[in-house]
């Protein structure tokens, strides 16, 4: 790329809204309405639902067993206002999962989170990329769990019921203005109810334009291997993987940042 000369040339280097111009101190009309449109789309995405049968079909096509569970949140509004309900399994779900317990396995939970678009689109390719690596590392995969109205910590309850050694929760991230299809991945060693966010590691912004699903799968395998060696996840597991311009914010680094 040639050296930038004009203010608007900055746009070549970032997806951020730079060089928008000025109308006085404000945004010019077109830039202002671009923003309003993006916000309208993000608002609608928050209320979009997960097509669980379609996701179940896509995952089943990879040749792994799938189970569906619901959180204790009965609807979207309750989910938004009562995160505690989204972290708990609905009545009876834990007992049903216990029947298919896989002690010492890796459990994978596909959760709708704050926006289902990302998990719908990017969880199957991520899983497809993950499976060979898990087999190579000698991991047993528990039945994949699709969870609706789910928060990250629901994975603790799922992992506990399945007696898994670790749980990876692939969850739809809160939609931003520029991306409404971001997937997050939270890895928790020895999952049990009551784990805190400081006890997890996170890979975020998984989407083709961010961290591609295949790269996220490699990252997850690296974290999983490190977690097995350390016997824990979270702040103690420093991401010191060399030369990794990747994406994994620790959720505790920003107030309230965990979906």
């Amino acid at each position: 790329m040639s050296t930038p000369v004009l203010w608007r040339d900055l746009r070549r280097y970032t997806p951020a809204r730079v060089a928008l111009g000025r109308a006085g101190n404000a945004l010019p009309t077109a830039a202002h309405l671009d923003f309003q449109e993006a916000h309208a789309r993000a608002r609608d995405a928050v209320w979009s639902g997960l097509d669980a049968p379609a996701l179940e079909g896509a995952v089943g096509a990879l040749g792994v067993p799938v189970r569906r569970v619901a959180s204790a949140a009965p609807d979207r509004r309750s989910y938004l206002l009562r995160p505690d309900l989204g972290r708990r399994l609905a009545d009876g779900e834990a007992a049903r999962l216990a029947e298919i317990a896989a002690p010492g396995s890796i459990a994978v939970v596909l959760a709708d989170g704050l926006c289902a678009t990302g998990v719908q689109a990017h969880a199957p390719p991520l899983l497809a990329a993950l499976l060979p690596g898990l087999r190579a590392a000698g991991w047993q995969l528990a039945p994949v769990v699709i969870a609706t109205q789910a928060r990250v910590a629901l994975g603790d309850a799922v992992g506990e019921a399945l007696q898994a050694a670790a749980v990876a929760v692939l969850i739809g991230e809160r939609p931003g203005l520029s991306a409404t299809d971001s997937l997050g991945c939270y890895l928790t060693w020895a999952p049990r109810r009551g784990r805190t966010d400081a006890e997890r590691n996170c890979i975020s912004n998984i989407r083709p334009e961010g961290l591609p699903p295949e790269a996220a799968a490699r990252k997850l395998l690296w974290l999983l291997d490190a977690a097995r060696r350390l016997g824990q996840t979270g702040v103690a597991l420093k991401d010191e993987e060399p030369a990794a311009p990747l994406v994994a914010p620790q959720p505790q680094d920003r107030i309230g940042g965990t979906p």
Partner: protein, 453 residues
Amino acid sequence: MGFAHTVGGTRHVFPDLRTLLARATPSRSGDVLAGVAAESAAERVAAQRALADLPLRHFLAEAVVPYEADEVTRLILDSHDPAAFAPVAHLTVGGFRDWLLGEADSTALTALAPGLTPEMVAAASKICRLQDLVAIAAKCRVTTRFRNTIGLPGTLSIRLQPNDPVDDPKGVAAQILDGLLLGAGDAVIGVNPATDNVDNLCRLLEMLDGVRARFDIPTQTCVLAHVTTTLLAIERGAPVDLVFQSIGGTQKTNESFAVSLALLKEAREAALALRRGTLGDDLMYFETGQGSALSAEAHHGCDQQTIEARAYAVARAFSPLLVNSVVGFIGPEYLFDGKQITRAGLEDHFCGKLLGLPMGVDVCYTNHAEADQDDMDALLTLLGVAGVTYVMGVAGADDVMLAYQSTSFHDGLYARAALGKRPAPEFAAWLERMGIADRTLEALPAPMTDLLR
């Protein structure tokens, strides 16, 4: 001991101080979620009347979180300055509000700060209207220094927040240039890293410091990693100006952030030893936000605003350069809509300023909250009148890494123009030297063009 007040023939009883404070709190979703909110408007006003009659001295005798169980409570009570408290020691909470609105002046408030506890100022805020929160905070003067002077009367500083989804140095640099062209960056040029990787942190720190040094910008830089990662970066010799950390108002909340008072002290001392400040050595940068304690189930039955004020006691123990509440980031389960976010932002600024902090606010919202740009404009304007130390500057108000909306570089220009504010004086002089103080040229200033080569 308990508290009680009768409203409309019904006697409302509050068994302890934390319950009284919680029931007196203006309505917000997080307190309902915690099960500590008043169950009716009448109960709320009864609690507010009982609270108004409570002597300020009582806050030194009854802790809302047990002293034995919580190092933040111990910090608050053990560091209380009785001599500074003396001028208001005879007042009730209601009398204190009247005094703050009336005779209190800037000098008196500065002297009083070490004599106030977070619970006292939280209590006062609960019986204030928005205009009271604005008028009282506007009397406070808090000035801090590292490479420039932040918080002088008539100034409004901006944190330039050039976050990139994959920490691409060119993506960060392009946003820094955009922000500088629009007058932002005097509070700090501060990046939230997309990954807490130590190599990545060092790379970003070198890049930020390179830009600052090359253009001789009188400001400081920061990568907002976890404090333990920043300590590793210091060990590796990275150019660390400020030490960042998210903090909360109880020991258990801080444990959920994997920090303690001892760890914060260690990190501050490590950064002080680098001697990078030129005008002063205020080098801690803290972020807080209502709801983080409940989110970690570490609230001890308290309301979220009281716990938030306690986080400021943690902050003031470390002489910070910058402290801001990230008021709308946490989501609708804690602050449901624009009205609740607006009130919380003004409460946080009020409490921080009375406790002597250089208080800024991240005026922001997420896409699952019932809020929009109009709410942000109102809160930004109110905070500007209240003398907020700094706000955020994000390209086009859209943080493409954290996926939320904050104030834009343009919003900073608006607020300064509408309220007659200027940047920190050293930074204002730099903008003049660069020829970008009053306008944004279509052509980039010549020295900046090769930054992205």
